[in-house]
């Protein structure tokens, strides 16, 4: 099944592991029940072929039906307890010294903010969450426009992002790696292209990444880059996008301060390569029909300068 980067049956976090245990318990119970019932059915039909087989006395039949019902009740109660127990266990994940992240769902991308008591230390990025391995993570979920749903199958079940409400999902990653998540609540035209990555790394690597993210964008170091920045600041980009350290402060598109460090563009639609970036800026509606990103009709040299500049946002 591919590389199972988005599979509930390949858990790499404690929460998902608990769920998949429950799944396999239910799976095998169900299989047994299913086989048992079909065997009973086959036998029932088979006996009909024998001439001497008559109708069972209603008493015996009643006995069997009652027994079967009793067994199913017991089984179901068992499963009920297993389910509730799993639920409790998942709730027990402690959130003290948990890493606090705030995710806001937009049509059709994710805004990610790393909370911090001192506002200047807060980090905003998009469509990509870096998290430390082995430390609980408390993600608060909000929606900007419509209902979305935050779902990383390898790590946890899904929780909805609902306008006017705030939901919380707590998870913990046990193995370093890249895990793919995707919006799971139908949210309009590009629901299909609203993915994100969770990059789990050892805590020092994570801290390094976080501090790097705190720095503003580096100033342009060459004329081409300067004109690239000019496109951002005086052209269309800054209407929606923010690049910290420049005058670009739009709030309705992803934060681009460190866009070059991300692995994908357009919320997991295409890999983040210079070519992909160029064609994305040139004609977004071709790559992601309906996306809120317009194509801005930049001239070729403007486009080149812009892409060159964005490449420097590491």
């Amino acid at each position: 099944m591919g590389q199972a980067i988005q599979s509930a049956l390949n858990p790499t976090g404690i929460q998902a592991a608990r769920i998949s245990d429950l799944y396999w318990l239910m799976f095998w119970t169900s299989t047994v029940v299913y086989v048992a019932v079909l065997i009973a059915l086959t036998v029932a039909i088979w006996r009909g072929r024998r001439s001497d087989a008559g109708e069972p006395s209603r008493a015996t039949a009643a006995k069997w039906v009652t027994a079967a019902t009793a067994i199913s009740i017991v089984t179901l109660i068992g499963l009920l307890f297993a389910s509730v127990a799993t639920g409790r266990a998942m709730g027990s994940l402690s959130t003290e010294n948990a890493l606090g992240i705030e995710v806001v769902g937009y049509q059709w991308w994710w805004s990610v903010k790393y909370k911090n008591p001192t506002p200047s230390l807060e980090v905003t990025t998009a469509n990509e969450l870096h998290v430390p391995v082995g430390r609980p993570i408390a993600i608060s979920l909000k929606a900007f426009d419509v209902i979305h749903s935050f779902w990383v199958p390898n790590l946890h079940g899904k929780v909805d992002l609902i306008p006017g409400r705030e939901n919380l999902i707590t998870l913990q990653v046990d193995r370093a790696g890249v895990y793919r998540g995707q919006c799971a609540e139908y949210c309009g035209l590009q629901h299909a292209h609203m993915a994100f990555n969770i990059i789990a790394e050892e805590s020092d690597a994570f801290e390094r990444w976080l501090t790097a993210q705190r720095t503003p964008a580096p100033p342009p170091s060459s004329p081409e880059l300067t004109s690239g920045l000019a496109v951002v600041e005086r052209g269309p980009c800054q209407m929606c996008h923010t690049i910290r350290g420049t005058t670009a402060g739009g709030r309705f598109g992803p934060d681009l301060t460190h866009v070059a460090t991300r692995s994908t563009l357009a919320s997991g639609t295409v890999p983040n390569t210079p070519d992909a970036l160029t064609s994305w800026i040139k004609d977004p509606q071709h790559i992601k029909p309906g996306t809120k990103m317009p194509s801005t009709g930049l001239s070729e040299q403007e486009l080149q300068a812009l892409v060159a500049y964005l490449q420097t946002l590491k």
Binding site: M90, G157, K158
Partner: protein
């Protein structure tokens, strides 16, 4: 005898000619219309499904874009739920309930006709709008805010909401007709515990309709108000709440599933008993389980909302309820197996569909248990696992029995048998195609493929299973074409059926095929659950019901003792006019609230035309008669 039957035929026939066709009130005529229309929409919904499967056959497919895809999956869900499944299960009731309870006609025939027209016009309305590119695109569940005024752009969501009004009005009307018929028109001797299981399932279903559908009516109405006149029911910024929509919708939406499922279970009991030539084992246990399912069915809606972050304590109750609702269904399955135990089974096509029910539905039931568990649901909710589950439940649990039931009752409705050969081929292909289509989707869901995506990237590794599913969809499509061909051919040249080709036990098989306009002559009485199999010659018949006017015998609710004889409404064109006026009102109110006010005027006139008596005497004359005491003694009527 034959003089009387001629007289009855003359009395009960629907009037001839085009006008007569539009004024028909015979429950068999209306029932057939319902069934044909429902299957028509089934074909459309199937075509939409096929289109989606083609689009998903391979990754990054460009066959149809997101806009059209979203409209199509919304149309598919809406069509299958509101224009196919519910109308069809009720339609079988409309045709067969009066026959199975030995009644001469159905209660409230004009209302019934009105219900059909409203349903038909609603369906046409939806598809015309779809052709105009105003097809709903927010999902058959229409979650706000996506369906709300700000994000539900244009009139598409209004079309959906108004279609709901059409179909719910129709469904509620049919439910009332069924309940009244089952309670008041049963043949003498058919006490409650002798009601055939299919009739009982229709009764329970009708009650579910009556209490569930108002919820979605309120939901869709408030949605339209939000969109049209700017109310704030679902606006979180002004005291509203999107979750309120989900409560209102699923409080209807889950019972809806059982509304579709219970009548199919009733058909199952009929089929198994007929083809094993035995009374169903545990008749009353089955009645109880149907009823219990209905009751619990109203207590499980929140399991569609586990991911919305509702308080943990509250939702464990709904987990428990959702798991426990399996028990009554289990009881039914066990009783059916007991029925088949050692029986000499005839493997005609209807029976094959009944047996397929076990193989397919039980899988759906078991995955249902998984979905009831909060933690597991959080993983598979809104994935293809749920798509697989719901199709195993609704197609395996409902469509298969319904198709079997159609095979079973086709002779009664048309007088001709369906071809067994074509029937079995269609069945085999359908069975294979179905599992091919939907079993892989369990795996897809577990491997992270969400629902309602118009495409998926190559590197997710979902391609193979999706291709498999699409192949299965094509197979199903072929199977259904064969089924349809079988119907068309056999309609003309099928073998003549006769009264009771399957040697089935219930009353509808004691009259000719197709049944005469007056259903029965003489009117039957019953002494047990399986009248045909009990020695019919000692069983008394009913005499003394007039044949020169539309007179119907009304009986007591409990023991079905004869109570009084009521004169039945004549055929009338007014239900059609009223339906047309109401249709105009509904469609207009998508664009302006004033349509309701303006439309009320012709609606009133239509109502007057409907209710104003055509025959009778002048009030003064009647007063004189009544004051002369020319009326049944009061102790008789009170």
């Amino acid at each position: 005898m034959s003089a009387e039957t001629d007289q009855l035929a003359a009395t009960w026939q629907d009037p001839p000619g085009l006008l007569g066709w539009f004024s028909a009130v015979d429950h068999k005529t209306i029932g057939i219309r319902f069934i044909v229309t429902a299957f028509g929409f089934f074909i459309l919904g199937g075509l939409e499904a096929a289109t989606m499967r083609l689009q998903l056959a391979r990754p990054d497919n460009g066959l149809i874009g997101p806009d059209l895809y979203n409209q199509i999956f919304t149309m598919h869900g809406t069509t299958m739920m509101f224009l196919f499944a519910v109308p069809l299960v009720l339609a079988f009731g409309v045709y067969f309930v009066p026959l199975m309870v030995g009644a001469r006609a159905m209660a409230l025939p004009r209302l019934l006709a009105f219900g059909y027209w409203i349903y038909l016009f609603g369906g046409i309305f939806l598809y015309v709008m779809f052709a105009l590119n105003i097809g709903p695109d927010q999902g058959w569940f229409s979650y706000v805010p996506l369906a709300g005024p700000e994000y539900g752009i244009g009139k598409r969501a209004d079309v959906w909401a108004q279609l709901i009004t059409f179909t719910e009005v129709s469904g509620l009307i049919v439910a009332i007709c069924l309940v009244t018929t089952i309670f008041k028109l049963r043949a003498p001797g058919m006490s409650l515990n002798r009601i055939p299981l299919f009739v009982w399932s229709e009764l329970v279903t009708s009650f579910m309709v009556i209490f569930a559908m108002p919820s979605v009516m309120i939901a869709s109405t408030t949605l339209i108000l939000d969109r049209l006149v700017g109310t704030h029911f679902y606006n979180p910024a002004d005291g509203g709440d999107p979750i309120l929509w989900q409560h209102l919708f699923w409080f209807f939406g889950h019972p809806e599933v059982y509304i579709i499922f219970l009548p199919a279970q009733g058909i199952m009991s009929m089929l198994l008993s007929t083809f094993s030539h035995r009374p169903v084992f545990g008749h009353q246990a089955l009645m109880l389980s149907l009823t219990a399912t209905a009751f619990i069915g109203f207590g499980v809606w929140v399991h569609h909302m586990f991911a919305t972050g509702l308080p943990q304590l509250g939702i464990s109750f709904f987990t428990a309820a959702s798991i426990m609702i399996v028990i009554p269904t289990g009881v039914q399955i066990f009783c059916w197996i007991a029925t088949l135990w050692g029986a000499r089974i005839r493997y005609d096509t209807p029976m094959l569909y009944a047996l397929a029910f076990f193989v397919i539905f039980i899988i759906g039931g078991l995955t249902g248990v998984m979905l009831a568990s909060v933690p597991l649901d959080l993983q598979v909710h809104d994935t293809f696992f749920v798509v697989a589950h719901l199709h195993y439940v609704l197609i395996g649990g409902s469509v298969f029995p319904l198709l079997g039931g159609f095979h079973y009752w086709f002779p009664k409705m048309t007088g001709r048998m369906l071809s067994e050969r074509l029937g079995k081929i269609a069945f085999a292909l359908l069975f294979i195609g179905f599992n091919l289509t939907f079993f892989p989707q369990h795996v897809l869901g577990l491997h992270g493929m969400p629902r309602r995506v118009y495409t998926y990237p190559e590197n997710m590794g979902w391609g193979t299973l999706n291709l498999l599913a699409s192949t299965g969809a094509v197979t199903m499509f072929i199977a259904l074409c064969i089924y349809l061909a079988n119907v068309i051919i056999s309609r003309r040249s099928g073998a003549i059926a006769g009264e009771n080709p399957w040697d089935a036990p219930t009353l509808e098989w004691t009259t000719s095929s197709p049944p005469p306009a007056y259903n029965f002559s003489p009117l039957p009485t019953v002494t047990g659950t399986d009248p045909v199999w009990e020695h019919t010659d000692e069983v008394p018949i009913v005499v003394g019901v007039a044949s020169e006017c539309r007179e119907v015998l009304v009986t007591h609710v409990m023991d079905a003792e004869p109570d009084h004889k009521k004169e039945w409404p004549e055929p009338s064109i007014w239900p059609l006019w009223t339906a047309l006026v109401i249709t105009g009102l509904f469609i207009g109110s998508i664009f302006t609230p004033w349509a309701v006010v303006v439309g009320a005027i012709p609606a009133t006139f239509a109502m007057v035309g409907w209710f104003w008596p055509k025959r009778g005497q002048s009030p003064e004359a009647l007063i004189r008669r009544l004051e002369a005491g020319d009326h049944p003694p009061l102790e008789q009527v009170l």
